[in-house]
Amino acid sequence: MGWSALENATLYSRTWGDETLVYSEASGDTHLLGPVDATVLDFLQKGSATIPDLVAHIVERLGIEEDDELYFYVSELLDKLETLALAEHTRR
């Protein structure tokens, strides 16, 4: 099972250093994301991805060490993004 950004959810973002603001036109909500969260959401906007895909992308992009904690963090983050109507499960 994979994840992607919520279909038809138009997102607008603004980045200052490590901070990324995301505005969802669908919900009208604004979210302040850290670098890992923003990297995940950006990747999901490009297509469907599994948790290992996302972890690999974070490691490559941000130079973070791959470990169990990172897998756990990404898993929890995806649940949060789903709650915020920013991401959803896909069949992949």
């Binding site: 200052w16 603001l21 302040l32």
Partner: protein, 312 residues
Amino acid sequence: MKVSSLSQEQLRQSLSGAGLNFRIGGFVFRIRSSLAAVIDGLALLYADYPLAPHNEFADFHVEVRRPHGPRRWFRPQVLFFFDGRPWFKPLPLKHALAMLEWGLNWCVYGHVNQYLIIHGAVVEKDGYAAIFPGGPGVGKSTLCAGLVARGWRLLSDELVLVSTADGRIAPLPRPVSLKNDSIELIERFYPDAVIGPRIAATEKGTIAHLRPPADSVARAEEYAQPGWVIFPAYESGAATQLTTQPKGLGFMRAARGTFNYHVLGLAGFQALANLIDTCRCFKLIYSDLDDAVAHIARLEPPSVATRKASAP
């Protein structure tokens, strides 16, 4: 023609008759009242404001008057009318001037959506606006009055109007609402200040209004470029600390203090993001007004700071 060009009797007759059209920034308010506290307050605090012709379109029609009924005779009260209807619960009659001021604020933040409206004070110097977002009690009005005393132009004490069209700050110079200890503080700090009557026992304590400088009123249609967003926090006895605030966090703090961010949707996000992008963001902790004003006066405009940061 200014308010001060009317005699007290002419002012009374106009206000208690069909009303008087005041031009305040980009708006025209038609104000009616036969209450002495309101008439005297307007004569003092709005002396420099231009009057608009009576046949000119007025954006807001307001009236402050006593309710009918037996309340006229015991514990007299006052009501705020907007478009002929009473709004808000009545207040004691002695709070009539304060009620008018609060009501005029509400007219703007409750109905105007061509601007993103941030709850805060804003002053200008050399074309750049210093914006102080914050709710009651953070010390923004005291800071605002202190900066005005040192030559900054008053744009607004309560409502920061950010144009959604071009991001500039529209002035809405109105009397600065001083509360409790800050009244005496400003009287000492700003000996030339014209301050209205003390209004005791309001829900915010004792308040008094500082008359805007005539220059700020005369330049009420002159917009300013956003320069700095400064989150003030008055802390008794604290040394002045002016520290950089991360922009993302600054955005979220400012957004929480807006009146119409959610109403404006994407336009609100873009207006605030552009504002934060353009401005330098700070957090200010202070207890000494003189020192806080001096710290703010030393801030460089964003363009200068950016040039220095990118210099080899």
